[in-house]
């Protein structure tokens, strides 16, 4: 059992000012521009949608557990996978990752708030409105022929299926508008993050002394500018097609369905890197602290992250290997996709080298980080399989791809997120999450994860396409689908344990103090939770790990940097 970190007298232990109660609390949160409160709102909001979208997934798995099932109708199923995907990407992934970013960045760079606090609040509320708008479609989406309700065009909404003639009613418009809102909010937050990181670092914190989390969120935000806008543009074009009769994707008038695909994936692929880079960020903070060693190769990690950011903008058409781009096009995108694996691999090896020679403490955040490391490795390797275009001609649009990207989204990103929760919850609330419940959560979730997503690869290899509401017996798919469904239920139990832990620990968790993990970055130098002004005195730093220097005056980082 690790010794608790000594609380240095120098560390600010200010208790936060008393909160107002009753209706005052509601007003306080609704009108706040404090990055910490906004961050928490993003996170809570995302958790609610996580539960909704998770329920949608469970319903789908029940429908697919046996062949020729009649648990839900095809129309309901098609809405389920559309809503599940759209919710998870835009209203869980983005908000929760930017929520953590919002909370942590000012604290990690020694600032008092983000660069534009009101823009921060605006970005949150417009994103929140987008999510509500998407779910409003269930009630309000009816159009002609009663063809309405939630969108059912898939989360990437390929043209011309989204044209007015093939998707009458307003369901597609709910998809378009809600995600447009989300895009505006995301762009606003990205602007805020870049301006904060460039302009508000505390004295002494040069760019090369920033925590890697800050670097990764900086790169992510820059990617947002280049990546989210194409989707916004494409959605404007789609809406013009649907309402003003323009012909952007109208194949009858000479328009191109492939053009939508290009625009969408120019957004879509960087988007998944926008989702994964913050996960890398969490791992970059957690692994060193729980291995008791500085991150191996800080500069290489920065270079690799920037490299991933750039290269990932050039790989998009690997989602389009089957549309007939021709050998030249296909070959280019094979190359760029394979190349992006190099900086990604570098990160993997640097994490390994950080652990090597360390003293690993297997507390809950680290357990999730370890899960991330193995699972991200596998996800990356199945990605390499998919990058070989001819192999992709078989695997694309099959359950193999679904398994691959869930391996990234759940096995890597969600695991990193769980680690982040256990790691920073004490900072945000002042209390520790229960280690016991944390371990139950971990084991249930990882068993369920592997039951579902390991075996999900197999129906893909046996020819099962995605987005089908049922399938025939005799293809060899049925038993694997049943196992996948069982895993989903096990994961649901794990998630429920997690949610319970969140709530229970808020009231009963052990008091954390400012630095429960014996960590080294600036957020641990202030009280838990921090006062609204973050730091009593704006810090001045002289190295990458200011608290390490404080705790190890005989061997400070500044002598090595």
């Amino acid at each position: 059992m690790a010794k608790e970190a000594p609380v240095l007298e120098a560390i600010d232990q200010t208790a936060p000012a008393g909160h107002s109660s009753g209706p005052g609390v509601v007003y306080e949160w609704l009108s706040t521009v404090d990055h910490k409160k906004i961050g928490i709102m993003y996170i809570v909001y995302a958790l609610i949608f996580l539960v909704l979208a998770g329920a949608q997934a469970l319903l789908m798995r029940i429908q697919l557990a046996v062949p020729n099932n009649h648990f839900v109708t095809p129309q309901v199923f098609n809405r389920l996978f559309t809503m599940h995907g759209s919710t998870m990407v835009f209203f869980v992934g983005i908000p929760i990752l930017f929520g953590f970013g919002n909370y942590l960045i000012p604290l990690m760079i020694g600032a008092r708030d983000m660069a534009f606090p009101r823009l921060n609040a605006f970005s949150f509320w417009i994103s929140a409105f987008g999510g509500i708008l998407l779910y409003l479609s269930y009630f309000a989406g009816s159009g002609l022929y009663g063809a309405g309700s939630a969108p059912d065009v898939g989360w990437f909404a390929y043209a011309p299926l989204t044209a007015k003639v093939f998707s009458p009613g307003h369901s597609t418009d709910y998809w378009t508008l809600s995600i447009l809102m989300s895009g505006i909010g995301t762009t606003g937050t990205a602007i805020n993050i870049v301006a904060t990181v460039i302009c508000m670092r505390c004295k002494g914190m040069t760019m090369t002394r920033m925590p890697l989390l800050v670097w990764l969120l900086l790169v992510t935000s820059c990617m947002v500018f280049v990546a989210v806008s194409p989707l916004t543009a494409a959605q404007i074009m789609l809406t013009l097609d649907r309402y003003l009769g323009s012909h952007f994707f109208d194949t009858q008038a000479g328009g191109s369905a492939v053009l939508w695909m290009h625009f969408f994936w120019i957004f879509g692929h960087p988007e998944v890197y926008i989702l994964v880079l913050p996960a890398f960020a969490f791992i970059n903070e957690i692994v060193p602290v729980f291995s008791r060693k500085a991150i191996f190769g800080y500069s290489a990690m920065v270079a690799a992250s920037v490299g991933i950011g750039f290269i990932s903008l050039s790989v998009w058409a690997h989602h389009m290997f089957t549309v007939g781009m021709g050998p030249a096009g296909n070959t280019f995108f094979v190359f760029s996709t394979m190349v992006v694996s190099v900086p990604t691999g570098i990160k993997m090896f640097n994490w390994l080298a950080t652990i090597w020679g360390g003293k690993v403490r297997f507390r809950t955040p680290m357990m999730f980080a370890v899960g991330f490391l193995f699972q991200f490795l596998i996800a990356g390797l199945t990605g390499i399989m998919l990058s070989a275009a001819p192999f992709d001609w078989q695997l694309s649009a099959s359950y193999f791809v679904v398994a691959h990207f869930h391996y990234v989204l759940v096995g890597a990103i969600l695991f990193a997120l769980f680690g982040a929760f256990y790691y920073w919850y004490p900072k945000m609330t002042g209390r520790m999450m229960s280690e016991t419940l944390g371990k139950w959560h971990f084991w249930f979730f990882i068993v369920g994860f592997h039951l579902t997503f390991d075996f999900m690869h197999i129906p893909g290899l046996l020819g099962m396409p995605r987005r089908i509401y049922t399938y025939e017996a005799g293809r060899g798919w049925e038993y694997w689908n049943l196992i996948v469904g069982i895993g989903a239920i096990v994961q649901a139990i794990g998630t429920l344990i997690f949610v319970y832990n969140l709530v229970h620990s808020y009231f009963r968790g052990k008091i954390a103090g400012p630095d429960p993990w014996d960590a080294w970055t600036l957020e641990w130098s202030t009280a838990s939770p921090p006062p609204s002004y973050n730091f009593a005195v704006e810090p001045t730093v002289g190295s990458r790990r200011p608290l390490w220097d404080l705790k190890h005056p005989e061997d400070p980082d500044s002598s090595y940097e």
Binding site: E9, A10, I11, D12, Q13, T14, A115, F116, L119, T187, A190, I191, N192, V194, A195, T196, I198, C199, R201, K203, G204, C222, V224, F225, V226, V228, S229, P230, T232, A233, I236, M237, L240, L244, S246, H247, F248, A253, G254, G255, S256, L259, F263, I266, S525, T526, F535, A536, V537, P539, T540, V541, G542, S543, P546, D549, L550, P553, P556, S558
Partner: protein, 201 residues
Amino acid sequence: MMQTPVTFPVSVDAEAPWVLPNRGIVGMWCLIAAEAAIFMIFVVAYIYYLGKSLTGPLPSQILELPILGTICLLSSSLTVHAAVSTLRKGKVQRCTVALAVTVLLGAAFLWTTAAEWHHLIYEEGFTIRTNLFGTTYYSLVGLHASHVVVGLLFLTVTFLFSVSGRLGEMHAERLEVLSLYWHFVDAVWVVVFLVVYVLGR
């Protein structure tokens, strides 16, 4: 109870003056990056669909070079620059004049676009749904025009602040941020002009 200030071991270089860029300028550059990406997509769509219309008029048949509008818009970049530099020197009166001229030039540009569209729609019968050229033309030029409108709104509000004496030398950097946006709008027009009126015809 007094809070203990935190001090970390620092190296000598931290004693040098710590100057970071202005966040308004950085934020505006980020917005410009995002907006540039949106315009890029509409430009790509325009270029991709050149020559692919199945029916309807071609650009060479109905488009004329918008010389007057272009001169107005590009000159307004000069006047807004003048507004910023006069405000920096504290010459608020001159700044007010410069802002007014900028707004007028921008409005003149919008007027020429409106006139062009009126002609195209009512006399040539050419709309967004006529063909692919119509689709890409109106959306690209329209997107640009909407950005001009937003810029003019901000500039007008600033002008009103200036006229009512609320604008001072301390606001110079904020005006510079706004002028950056305006320069961007002009730069986009240069691209649109070249792609639609020069290349496309």
